[in-house]
């Protein structure tokens, strides 16, 4: 593997099974998908909002759909992928909770990385300066940041619990250092981890039913004689009471 691979990409590359079907939400210029295709022979699909990113992906020979992770995930059939990847953009989504649920409707496992607002640099910066932190992980001033839904590791794990989502693996990523497996709800990890990468899934009994002949194509055509496919989400287990 080339040395220049981004640390989060290297970790994702390690997690993904060879030959898997992968959806990369916000795939940018397709660097990760190309890497996964080359190294793991995945069947990859990208979703990217910028025209430049889409053109770059097409030139790399990748399948890419121009679209918005906030709006267009519901276009993908249920359980049509093994992995859905969302790298460092959950905090930029208008509805992160919905996006997280959608990722685990479309795919059996989701790989999601989030910057940790509970990292000590954030806390110290806010405490000492009394201003919104500007750190190497989140460098933009408050009025220019695309990050509208920041969270701490604890916030994120609370949400996964509430949504009945399992954390299959979690690693901390910190500025170029090797990925370090962590307990995502650990008190100290919430201070120490700059960014965390999660491998998420639902318990098999909570997975939505895969629809082998998904009728999605018919939905938009609104033919009265064709029954609409159920668009209901998977039945969710009530969130267990916090321990």
């Amino acid at each position: 593997m080339p040395a220049a691979v981004r640390e989060d990409f290297a970790e994702i590359l390690r997690l993904v099974r060879p030959g898997a079907r992968v959806l990369d939400v916000g795939c940018e210029d397709g660097e990760l998908l190309e890497l996964l295709t080359r190294e793991k022979r995945v069947d990859g699909q990208g979703l990217e909002i910028s025209p430049a990113g889409v053109s770059a992906c097409l030139a790399r020979g990748l399948a890419v759909v121009q679209g918005d992770g906030d709006r267009d995930l519901d276009h993908f059939p249920t359980r049509s992928f093994d992995y859905a990847i969302l790298s460092k953009t959950l905090q930029q989504m208008r509805a992160p909770r919905h996006v997280l649920s959608e990722l685990l409707r479309i795919a059996d496992q989701a790989i999601v990385s989030v910057p940790n607002f509970g990292h000590w640099r954030m806390r110290v910066s806010l405490m000492a300066r009394g201003r919104m932190p500007e750190t190497r992980a989140l460098p933009d001033p408050w009025w220019a940041t695309p990050n509208i839904h920041l969270c701490t590791l604890r916030d994120f794990t609370d949400l996964t619990r509430e949504l009945g989502i399992r954390v299959d693996a979690c690693v901390a990523l910190s500025g170029g250092k090797p990925a370090r497996p962590i307990r995502p709800d650990g008190f100290l990890e919430n201070w120490r981890s700059e960014t965390a990468l999660f491998l998420l899934s639902r318990a098999p009994e909570n997975r939505p039913e895969a629809v082998p002949t998904d009728l999605f194509g018919a939905v938009a055509l609104e033919r009265p004689d064709v029954p609409r496919p159920p668009r209901r989400k998977a039945p969710r287990r009530r969130a267990p009471a916090a321990p």
């Binding site: 097409l58 790399r60 679209g67 055509l221």
Partner: protein, 388 residues
Amino acid sequence: MDAGAEASPERADGGETDGGTWRFPAAKPLRLDSGATLAPLEVAYKTYGRLNATKTNAILVCHALTGDQHAASVHPVTGKPGWWDKVIGPGLPLDPARYFIICSNVIGGCMGSTGPASPNPNTRQPYGLAFPVITIGDMVRAQAMLIEALGIETLLAVVGGSMGGMQVLQWAADYPEKLFSAVCIGAAPRHSAQNIAFHEVGRQAIMADPDWRGGAYETEGVRPEKGLAVARMAAHITYLSEAALQRKFGRELQRDGLSWGFDADFQVESYLRHQGTSFVDRFDANSYLYITRALDYFDLAAQHGGVLAEAFRKARGVRFCVLSFSSDWLYPTAESRDIVRALNAAGCRASFAEIETDKGHDAFFLDEPQLDRTLRGFFAATAQARGL
């Protein structure tokens, strides 16, 4: 039956190397979706570039409603450059140095393929309204016959915009095994009520022209030029966006001051009149009726039990690229997204991009850098995947 010489298609041209006409004899009729048959059938086409030894570099280009096979060559009637000369040519996304590019005139057309102006074998007069109603599926079936006659088993790509894009979708539904990739630009999986409505205005304009003569104008030595021009004027508005019309013409006048009459005072009027009158020089009114009808009848989902995804069920091995234009209100982006959604549902490998432009539907043959980049990237990657 003896598959003798009279059952084989033959060249019906001067043996040109860059196209010509194939004639399919009565023993090999074209079976139409309506149940009728069409024979003898002639398919006129142009080619650009050379077929390689392994026959893996052939690309079929499908033309739009009023297009023809002269995609990248000077039009024999108008003397104007080909309609897709921004895409096909040396150094362009479809470079004849690399690909063997085929473009055929659709059946029902008026540039050499069998259409309503062709002689009816029963009467030896032009068909007129005796020509059977055809569909996009019929056009594609005739193209498949041509491709077979040319000795090509699989196409590296089938590509087209507008009605050409619908043919691309039909190819993917009917002949997925013959396709390596498919590029559908500014099209829709079916004609909407608004699409049908605009076409009906055009058809009524033609049929209201006293020179239409119930479709028999050729035998009576007249042409419904006024009706066809009005049909073209109405349709042309749908090919442009409001912003493009405004930018191009605004309220600019032809001359200083108003005429206080009904001359073409405004530049936009003069432009549309020119579009109408120049169109009648190169197009046949009955062809316009038949081809607009084929478009109106197009509903790919309806052909597959109402489920669009079913149309692509067998096309999982095809690499799709679907493109739309942000200001296209004739076949808006939402309809291209329906196609992509169905492709995803069918498990096909699909790419989609919306080209940002204010030029409306016609953007697919105008100078659009983002379209150029996208096509360039897609074809280069496709050729590489095919080992070219």
